[in-house]
């Protein structure tokens, strides 16, 4: 995810302090990975240097100085361009799972067991996400669904590969 563009986008609704930006980011997009303060301040310095944000005011109120940032016109254009640009679809051609299956077959280990335990691990994660989705709000549901659909796609591949193991073993045999 482009943290710079996301923080810029959050500034479109009005100027904010770095701390406020971090909190909003974590709340809306952080899921289980909150931003580090260092990441926020280094990103804001870069955006400032590139003219995409400007300092709207500095407050200290007895403590350390806190800068309030505002988005510039160039920043708004940058966000628009980013949103209009489709994300590059992931080709998924470099698969560790595929590599493991082939290596298991090449070395005489059980590829079927490998697939079964992977299947089990995937389903366990799907259960955790389903539970979280059930207890969460619409934002939680959407983000969990995104993950669930990807895991489901992996599972379908695991099933298909299980059914084709004999065939694959003949193809990869040394």
């Amino acid at each position: 995810m482009s943290i710079g563009h996301t923080l810029l986008g959050l500034l479109e609704s009005g100027p904010r302090h770095g701390y406020d930006l971090k909190r909003t980011f974590d709340e809306k997009f952080g899921q289980d990975r909150p931003l580090h303060y260092g990441q926020v301040y280094s990103t804001m310095s870069r955006l400032l240097k590139n003219g995409l944000v400007e300092v709207d005011g500095v407050e200290s109120e007895g403590g350390p100085e806190r800068k309030r940032y505002a988005i510039t016109d160039a920043g708004i254009t940058d966000v628009s361009q980013w949103l209009a640009q489709p994300e590059k679809p992931e080709p998924y051609l470099q698969s560790t799972l595929y590599t493991k299956v082939v290596l298991a077959l090449l070395t005489g280990r059980s590829a079927a067991d490998l697939l079964d335990s992977q299947r089990s691990a995937h389903l366990r994660m799907m259960r955790i996400l389903t539970d979280r989705k059930r207890k969460g709000d619409l934002a939680d549901q959407l983000i969990c669904d995104h993950a669930l659909f990807h895991l489901e796609a992996d599972l379908r591949w695991l099933e298909l590969t299980s059914a084709r193991l004999d065939q694959l073993a003949k193809v990869v045999a040394p």
Binding site: D113, D116, M126
Partner: protein, 228 residues
């Protein structure tokens, strides 16, 4: 070999149709209030396993124990009575009686167990409320959507206070949004009433509503929690 605390357990089930083995040494168990997904490719024997567990078909060999009683030692009449009193069923489609209204459908298992009409329909409506279909009471199955019909079917499966619900691809005919809602309501209602659910599905997203999954492959069941 009955796992401790299990409500329904099967050991070394074998069933052959003609020369085709459908079950080849399958074992299975479910605890009260537990939701177990039975997964596996088409033709792997998962529906046969469910039908054996529910006493709908008899295995060629192996044992099935329900609440300490051996299913194969029961007469057909005893097994039918057990199905009416202790088991509930949800299938993919075609399970509601088209001539009856939705509330009459939900009340049907209670009526078959001898409950008077008024009391049966009152209980039926309570379950329909839980399943968010209480406004469909007077409608007939042909007048409701697939998702609504499936919720009515879940309400019916739960109405007679069963101990086990057998669900065979319960969301197979639904779009994913409706399917997920049916699963959410089914598993919530079952868990809160301490009802065990045996859920046959080939969809991982549906199986993710379970507590545990068992995979049937070539007629053998494998508990995935203990996979290598």
């Amino acid at each position: 070999m009955i796992p401790e605390g299990s409500l329904l357990a099967a050991h070394d089930l074998r069933k052959t149709y003609g020369s085709t083995p459908a079950l080849d040494g399958a074992s299975f168990s479910v605890h009260p209030g537990e939701v177990v997904a039975v997964m596996g490719p088409s033709g792997s024997g998962k529906s046969t396993l469910l039908h054996c567990l529910a006493g709908i078909i008899t295995p060629d060999s192996g044992t099935i124990t329900y609440a300490g009683r051996e299913l194969s030692a029961m007469s057909d009449a005893e097994r039918s009575a057990l199905r009416r009193s202790d088991f509930g069923f949800v299938f993919q489609f075609g399970q509601l009686v088209p001539e009856l209204t939705c509330v009459e459908n939900v009340a049907l298992p209670l009526r078959l167990n001898g409950v008077k009409r008024k009391a049966a329909e009152r209980t039926a409506l309570e379950w329909m409320e839980r399943l968010e279909v209480d406004d469909l009471g007077t409608k007939r199955p042909g007048e409701v959507s697939g998702g609504q019909g499936q919720r009515v079917a879940v309400a019916r499966a739960l109405a007679a206070s069963p101990k086990v619900i057998f669900a065979d691809e319960p969301t197979g005919a639904l779009d994913s949004l409706n399917g997920e809602r049916v699963m959410e309501l089914l598993t919530e209602a079952a868990r809160s009433a301490n009802v065990a659910v045996v859920l046959v599905t080939h969809e991982a997203r549906v199986a993710a509503y379970s507590d545990r999954d068992v995979t049937v492959r070539d007629g053998r069941a494998r508990d995935m929690e203990h996979a290598v």
